[in-house]
């Protein structure tokens, strides 16, 4: 069952959801459901994103002015609220990405080379 599969997925680290949303939006405007799906797919189903948790994050980013939102029509001719990356948001993405890369690299160095499984 899918529940088994969900348990294997990784929980998101605090604060990383914002980064993932910004990154997803770099390919163009997208609605909430699309963003959720995109994160899931691009992470090859490794990340667990509860769709409901997406919205407070979207709202937060919108308030900060990093993304903008407007109602539009989806591919399936359904009305949906589309989010776009703003100029400030783009800059923020670059900054956050760099930060995240450095952090990941640093943690990687501390943890050392991958130990053989088993």
């Amino acid at each position: 069952m899918s529940t088994q599969k969900e348990k294997d997925r990784l929980e998101l680290l605090q604060g990383t959801l914002d980064l993932l949303i910004l990154r997803t939006l770099i390919f163009g405007p997208q609605h909430g459901q699309g963003i959720a799906r995109a994160i899931q797919q691009t992470s090859e189903d490794e990340l667990l994103v509860e769709h409901g948790a997406l919205y407070p994050a979207l709202q937060r980013l919108e308030e900060r002015g990093w993304i903008a939102a407007d109602w539009g029509t989806s591919a399936h001719n359904r009305k949906a609220r589309f989010y776009t990356l703003t100029r400030v948001g783009r800059k923020q993405l670059v900054k956050e990405t760099t930060k995240w890369r450095r952090l990941a690299a640093a943690i990687g160095r501390v943890l050392g080379p991958e130990v053989g499984k088993g």
């Binding site: 459901q33 769709h51 409901g52 919205y55 709202q59």
Partner: protein
């Protein structure tokens, strides 16, 4: 951040779209409609939580809560109109009293002068270790100090010579303008033939321009009015113009006669500007150059040794007070220490200070400061009591609301949220109390200002209209009170154990004793109220005793049924022979008024604050020159005031005839004088010296009884009475009955002698004495009123606490009575509980009062700050009144029917 807040419906639409899109996608992946819908829901997670988080992240959430709290609070308060009314009224009295006293303090000492950039204004003040060797020297009142309220014991003052003013005026690098001014004292004004008195000020030409004051009508005085040849010009104050000319613009250009000199009215000052001394009114401003012609005491204008001018300046922009002080210091020191006969020596460290004139001169502050601060302390205590009172009422009510609060806890309300709700209710009450308090305050402050004004020779104009400082103060104390009386009950009542509180009925569980922990805070509040009331009551009783002592003391003369009447004929051009005959003529006409039994006159009235002193010399002790009080008196003075003659004789007509030729050789002394300087010997026939270096030649012809002269508080001083030459003075008119009824016929008698002679003052001797002790009357009456208020409020608090408790313990009382307790025992139980709290409060209050009473010392007379009688009276009064407050609920407890009480559950 200013985008419009998203609507909840918009968010809901977005979520719906999300779920639909997800369902559609899942169906495309092959799931059935039903399965897809469920899976979409599952992937979304907690829908309600998402909605809630959206709601909570709204920027205006606190506003929503505030509106909720306010609505609910108002509803709760409406549900208990009695409680709300008492609480709001209590707070309104407390806040109102504080605001009233504060608005007086504001008007007298905090408000800046109504001129542009008052912070650039300074007044010159000198200081030295010795007084200057000035020929004449005026110590004007209202000279401000740099440090607030500090008075250094070394010689200092705000008067300078005219040459010094000129030198300062030349310092054009520091000062934008230097101006001089001097009170003109009483001015006799004649407008179209009607004579009256006015208060004026003589000002230099720079005065108005430097202050930046423009005329409401016409023009203000300028430098052009300063020349010796300029025609005399006068600027009227707005209120004087309204009063005397009915606000007619045509008054400008008219001519009026001031002290016999014709002046042209050139303008009217703006309504806001009353002078440099807050509260003190000037009716008109005259050019300083007319001083020699207008004022009786001729000051030597060109003389550097005559210090009589107050000097102020406006600093240039960007010049600090310190810089200006340093520069003018040099000028001052050079001026006073150089020349043939320097006025001050270097070693006396003459020093010039520039004191900010932003808040004006400080005459009223000097006179009223102490009284106002004392009253502020008293009303502060009243407010604390009011807070404690409303807090205990709120607490009692919170106990009744326990179930409601428990229910809300059970439904998941956070403690903070409930505290906030309860605090909102408190603040609503505080704000209502504050608004009502502002009304009380305005009425109170106006009548206080009127009282102060009625006790002075010239009326005060204390502007008590609330300004931003007063409103800010009220808002601050309102908020503070709201939190103060709201927080303790809120914290206390939110510490609820939900389950038992919900299960319980309105009565307490059996087993909690009558003195339960539940009312820990309530007990403390009642004790605090009693203790604070004791403080206010002790203060009030000490001040009341002072007033009684002053009012009932033996003053040595009979002040009842005496009218004081003063005229200044010199201002109307009387002199020489005409002046000499006026006073006997007036005396004769006044004596002829039906109802008048006797008329005398003297240079100044007794107990008016006016006073003369002189050194005397004895033949056998040339080195001894004691200083004694002196008073010039006319015929019939002792008889009219009923001062008894103890030995010798009083003055006869020869003595007065000699007096007018200034060769007085006879004096009368009082009993203290006789005892102090002659002991057991008879002083009649002895000689006194009145001038240094001359052989004593004034013969003592009589000894009269001691009478209070300068002030009620001072002891009797050795006093010399001289015969008085006719001239400016005050008539004492004794009437057979109530003198008030005779005032108009007394006026008529004066008018029948000269209809142009203005009556400067007409009041009874009793009114005159009351004026000198008006500060004592003010603080005694007001602190008495506040003490009464405190007592009432404390009683309400005590009553409220016990009544509420009796209601809560109906069940327990029922059980006790069912088990055989008599009504008397129940009465004693409740009464005892109240009395115990009161007793504790009394002990704490008395202890604190003993510690604090010495600060009242300077205001007391004839009573020790630790006066056992005062403390005992207060304690007994408090015990009686509070027993009454306890008795009512206690009696209700005895009326409990055990059957009803037990069945009640």
């Amino acid at each position: 951040m200013f985008r419009r807040k998203r609507k909840q419906s918009d968010f809901a639409a977005e979520i719906e779209a999300h779920l639909e899109l997800e369902t559609q996608q899942l169906r495309e992946q092959g799931l059935s409609e039903e399965e897809a819908r469920r899976a979409a829901r599952r992937a979304f997670g907690n829908l309600a939580r998402a909605q809630e988080r959206f709601y909570e992240s709204g920027r205006w959430l606190w506003w929503d809560h505030l509106v909720q709290d306010l609505r609910f609070g108002l509803r709760m308060l409406r549900k208990n109109p009695g409680f709300t009314a008492i609480a709001v009224l209590t707070l309104a009295l407390g806040i109102g009293a504080n605001t009233a006293v504060f608005s007086l303090i504001d008007a007298v000492m905090l408000r800046p002068l109504p001129v542009p950039n008052p912070q650039h204004l300074v007044i010159f003040k000198w200081e030295a270790r010795q007084s200057p060797e000035a020929e004449s020297f005026y110590a004007w009142s209202g000279c401000p100090s740099k440090a607030f309220g500090s008075k250094k014991p070394i010689p200092a003052g705000c008067s300078f010579s005219y040459p010094m003013f000129e030198q300062m005026r030349a310092e054009k690098n520091i000062f934008a303008a230097v101006f001089a001014f001097v009170p003109a004292e009483q001015l006799g004004v004649n407008i179209d033939g009607n004579a009256s008195f006015a208060d004026g000020e003589l000002v230099s030409g720079d005065f108005f321009p430097a202050l930046g004051i423009r005329a409401a009508w016409g023009r203000v005085l300028g430098v052009s009015d300063e020349g010796a040849t300029a025609s005399p010009a006068v600027v009227l104050s707005y209120t004087y113009w309204k009063r005397q000319f009915g606000g007619e613009p045509s008054a400008v250009g008219k001519s009026i006669v001031v002290n016999g000199i014709p002046f042209t009215i050139v303008g009217v000052a703006p309504p806001a500007f009353l002078g440099l001394d807050p509260g003190i009114v000037h009716d008109m401003w005259l050019p300083l150059s007319t001083e020699g012609r207008v004022v009786q005491h001729v000051r030597k204008v060109s003389d550097a040794a005559s210090w009589w001018l107050m000097v102020g300046a406006r600093l240039k922009p960007r010049v600090t007070i310190a810089q200006a002080e340093a520069a003018s210091q040099v000028v001052f020191t050079r001026g006073v220490t150089s020349g043939g006969s320097p006025l001050l020596k270097w070693e006396d460290a003459p020093h010039l200070e520039l004191v900010s004139l932003a808040h004006g001169l400080v005459t009223l502050q000097e006179q009223l400061g102490d009284a106002l601060f004392l009253l502020m302390a008293a009303v502060g205590l009243v407010l604390l009591i009011a807070c404690a009172n409303v807090a205990s009422l709120t607490l009692a009510r919170a106990a009744a609301r326990e179930k409601e609060l428990a229910m809300r806890f059970a439904l998941g309300a956070e403690r903070w949220r409930i505290i906030r709700q309860l605090l909102t209710e408190s603040l609503i009450m505080a704000v209502a109390g504050g608004l009502l308090g502002i009304v009380f305050a305005y009425v109170g402050a106006s009548s206080l200002a009127a009282f102060l004004s009625s006790n002075r020779y010239s009326p005060l104009e204390i502007n008590v209209h609330p300004d931003w400082r007063v409103l800010g103060f009220t808002m601050a104390i309102t908020t503070l009170t709201g939190i103060l009386f709201g927080l303790a009950p809120a914290l206390r009542s939110t510490r609820i154990n939900v389950a038992p509180a919900l299960k319980e009925s309105a009565v307490s569980p059996p087993g909690t004793a009558l003195i339960g922990r539940r009312f820990g805070v309530g007990n403390v509040l009642v004790v605090a109220q009693v203790a604070l009331s004791i403080l206010v009551l002790v203060g009030a009783s000490l001040l009341a005793r002072t007033l009684i002592n002053l009012a009932t003391m033996n003053i040595g003369f009979d002040a009842h049924n005496v009218v004081l009447l003063s005229v200044y004929p010199e201002l109307n051009g009387y002199k020489g022979e005409r002046l000499a005959s006026l006073f006997p003529e007036l005396q004769r006409r006044l004596s002829a008024v039906p109802g008048v039994t006797s008329v005398g006159y003297s240079a100044v009235p007794l107990l008016s604050g006016a006073y003369g002193k002189q050194d005397i010399y004895f033949a056998n002790e040339p080195d001894r020159s004691p200083s004694v009080a002196v008073l010039k008196v006319g015929p019939n003075f002792f008889e009219t005031l009923r001062i008894p003659l103890l030995a010798g004789r009083t003055y006869n007509s020869h003595d007065f005839a000699d007096a007018s030729e200034k060769k007085t050789k006879v004096v009368i002394v009082n009993q203290t004088f006789a005892r102090r300087f002659f002991g057991k010997h008879n002083p009649v026939g002895q000689l006194l010296g009145l001038e240094k270096g001359k052989s004593p030649d004034a013969e003592i012809v009589g000894v009269v009884g001691d009478a209070k002269y300068y002030s009620l508080r001072e002891g009797i001083e050795p006093t010399l009475y001289f015969p008085m030459e006719p001239g400016g003075g005050i008539f004492e008119v004794r009437t057979a009955s109530d003198p008030k009824a005779l005032l108009s016929s007394i006026r008529g008698a004066v008018r029948s002698v000269d209809s142009n002679l203005p009556i400067f003052q007409l009041m009874t001797q009793t009114e005159q004495i009351n004026r000198t002790i008006f500060q004592e009357r003010l603080v005694a009456w007001l602190s008495g009123a506040f003490a009464l208020l405190a007592l009432v409020v404390a009683c309400i608090g005590l009553y409220g606490l016990l009544a509420h408790e009796v209601a809560r313990r109906t069940h327990e009382v029922g059980v006790r009575m069912a088990l055989g307790a008599s009504p008397l025992e129940v009465l004693a139980l409740v009464l005892g509980r109240g009395i115990r709290l009161v007793a504790l409060g009394v002990v704490i209050g008395i202890g604190t009062a003993l510690g604090l009473a010495r600060y009242l010392q300077s205001l007391l007379y004839g009573v020790h700050p630790i006066d056992p009688l005062a403390y005992a009276t207060v304690t007994i009064l408090l015990l009686i009144v509070t027993s009454g407050a306890c008795y009512l609920p206690a009696r209700r407890a005895t009326k409990v029917d055990p059957m009803v009480a037990l069945r009640y559950e």
